[in-house]
């Protein structure tokens, strides 16, 4: 999609490319190389995204990070990764800068560039509301920026619908520089696979195995924090927890919804239109907690970040450094918030997925092995389209299994050597 020329062209996905690069970040990286001189931002789905394979929820955004200057990758989950797959486009290369604000509308095999001047200046929540209303479909998934991205902040984040995403690379700024307010996704497509019966049989078998896994009986960000050693996390946030929910086909509900303006125990549909917030960023919540914020204040900061379209991890880190604990003052600082924030060491993948095993030990003897393990585990998740946090809690999703699923799904023949090469290529 050439925003400068307002032109769209389509290419068939080549089996040979899939055979070598697998999918997801393997192919977005390859496409990045092909369009590098036009400063592309690339959306992609993993090979298994949107199937019945457990945790096949992942979509990937690849671009040059305003924070590091190098090619990096961000995950997007909820239902947006799956929805991208069913739009009919596995990969979307966006180049150039539009003359005026636009959003991309991908649906049912059709790609449109649409005027977005009326949304420019709006926050993330109002933009998603406006796009859904204008299309008459509340199930549209959006990758969307707020004022932070429009103003060119290096801390700007591409959000998913109303919520944070795994974008810790400043990709919100890249959208803003292209005058791209959002990408709207909705698909009613059909995904055919090579050996459907064998594939589905295997999916059921895997699910049965992992249902009894180490994470059984756990849910939400608070149990993840507990697994990371934050023993009082559950008590801390419990007074606000409404429900837990999962990203597409993900057996563990990684998202915790808190009610801030309603009784969290309310079961019926609340009258309040915006009663709370969906917490899906473990790292940001942990940093705010450790900085001494109350659970309510931390949730209010995260909500403000999502509306403004700013990376909550960066905000949490900079606030902790300044000692600020007042959520209103933290929000007021967004406009000209600057500063160096930490990025994952040695990887191109987002630290949105905690850099350690969760619930299960993966046979790792000590913490010194976590770094290399995490990079390889994330590479695997980003290639195949597996939820990157779930990948850290389910050792049952092994590389051998992924190869088997690849072969059943595509009818091609993936070897361990090719997988090793694909992982090495995306980690370079």
């Amino acid at each position: 999609m050439d925003l400068e020329a307002s032109q769209i062209s389509e290419d068939e996905l080549d089996d040979e490319l899939v055979g070598q690069k697998i999918g997801g970040v393997g192919i977005t990286s390859s496409l990045y190389g092909a369009y590098k001189d036009r400063d592309p931002i690339i959306l992609g789905a993993g090979l298994l995204t949107g199937t019945l394979f457990p945790a096949s929820a992942l979509g990937v955004i690849s671009a040059k990070s305003p924070r590091t200057g190098g090619l990096t990758h961000s995950p997007f989950t909820l239902k947006a990764g799956m929805e991208l797959k069913y739009t009919g486009f596995d990969y979307v290369v966006i180049v150039g800068k539009s003359k005026k604000p636009v959003f991309l509308w991908l649906h049912d095999g059709v790609a449109d560039i649409q005027e977005a001047s009326e949304f420019w200046g709006a926050d993330v929540w109002n933009t998603t509301d406006a796009i859904r209303k204008s299309m008459g479909d509340d199930l549209i998934q959006t990758l969307v920026i707020g004022p932070a991205g429009e103003r060119g902040s290096d801390l700007a984040q591409i959000c998913v619908n109303y919520w944070a995403s795994g974008d810790c690379w400043g990709f919100g700024k890249v959208f803003g520089e292209k005058n791209l307010k959002a990408v709207a996704l909705r698909g009613m497509g059909l995904l055919e696979i090579s050996d459907p019966e064998g594939f589905v049989d295997q999916c059921f078998e895997v699910l049965e195995t992992i249902k009894g896994g180490a994470f059984a009986g756990k849910s939400g960000v608070e149990d993840i924090l507990t697994a990371m050693g934050e023993k009082d996390a559950k008590e801390w946030i419990a007074p606000f927890v409404h429900r837990h929910s999962a990203c597409y086909n993900t057996p563990y509900p990684t998202n915790t919804f808190v009610y801030l303006n309603e009784n969290p125990k309310t079961l019926a549909e609340p009258t309040e239109q915006e009663p709370g917030f969906l917490i899906n960023d473990v790292g940001a919540l942990l940093t705010l907690k450790r900085a001494g914020l109350s659970a309510e204040s931390a949730c209010r900061v995260l909500k403000a970040c999502a509306k403004y379209g700013i990376d909550p991890c960066a905000v949490a880190e900079l606030s902790a450094r300044s000692g600020q604990k007042d959520p209103d003052k933290i929000e007021q600082s967004f406009v000209d918030l600057k500063g160096t924030v930490s990025v994952p060491e040695g990887g191109k993948f987002s630290s949105w997925a905690p850099m350690q095993p969760l619930f299960a030990d993966f046979g790792l003897s000590d913490e010194s092995a976590y770094g290399d393990w995490w990079v390889r585990r994330q590479a695997l998740a980003y290639l195949f389209g597996i939820h990157p946090i779930f990948a850290n809690m389910a050792p049952e999703l092994s590389e051998e299994l992924m190869i088997e699923m690849f072969n059943k799904g595509t009818g091609l023949d993936l070897s361990q050597e090719t997988l090793d090469q694909a992982i090495a290529d995306v980690c370079l």
């Binding site: 990203c247 509900p253 019926a268 009663p275």
Partner: protein, 151 residues
């Protein structure tokens, strides 16, 4: 009264003699959803779509996670059955008879159907995955056992 007793005695006699068989209770199986246990992952929806289309797709599923109130985190599951829409809400089960227009109890006005319900009415009703070796696929795929097959 007397003739009624005689009729029943005659039937019991015929059953004992094996001349007629005992009338059997008709067992109806259906899908039951615990909306509070549901985590809204949509695996059931995709599994149902697979049963309908022999490929992965959502358009034909007769079980759907309704998720249009995203900012309120209000979600549940709708199942289209032969004669009704079963809506498993967090606060309880609601069954809407297809083709019956309801009136709002407080205003007397006709209830406007949720936009997301309209496509459901055009879909095939649940057949408990007839012909599939797995049984009802939504039951099998649910990672938190929120869906069950009940009598």
């Amino acid at each position: 009264m007397v003739s009624g007793i005689l009729v029943w005695q005659s039937i019991i006699y015929l059953i004992k003699q094996g001349i007629v068989t005992k009338p059997r209770r008709r067992i109806v199986m259906r899908i039951d959803v615990d909306a509070l246990t549901c985590i809204g992952c949509m695996a059931c929806e995709m599994a149902c779509g697979y049963h309908r289309d022999d490929a992965f797709a959502l358009l034909s599923s007769c079980i759907v996670v309704y998720r249009t109130r995203e900012k309120k985190d209000y979600f549940g599951v709708v199942v289209k059955e032969e004669e009704s829409l079963k809506i498993a809400r967090p606060e309880g089960l609601e069954i809407k008879r297809i083709g019956v227009t309801e009136e709002s109890s407080d205003s007397g006005q006709k209830k406007e159907a949720d936009a997301s319900a309209k496509p459901m009415l055009l879909r095939e009703p649940c057949d408990l995955c007839s012909g599939m070796k797995y049984g009802p696929m939504c039951v099998k795929i649910c990672p938190v056992n929120a869906i069950s097959l009940v009598e």
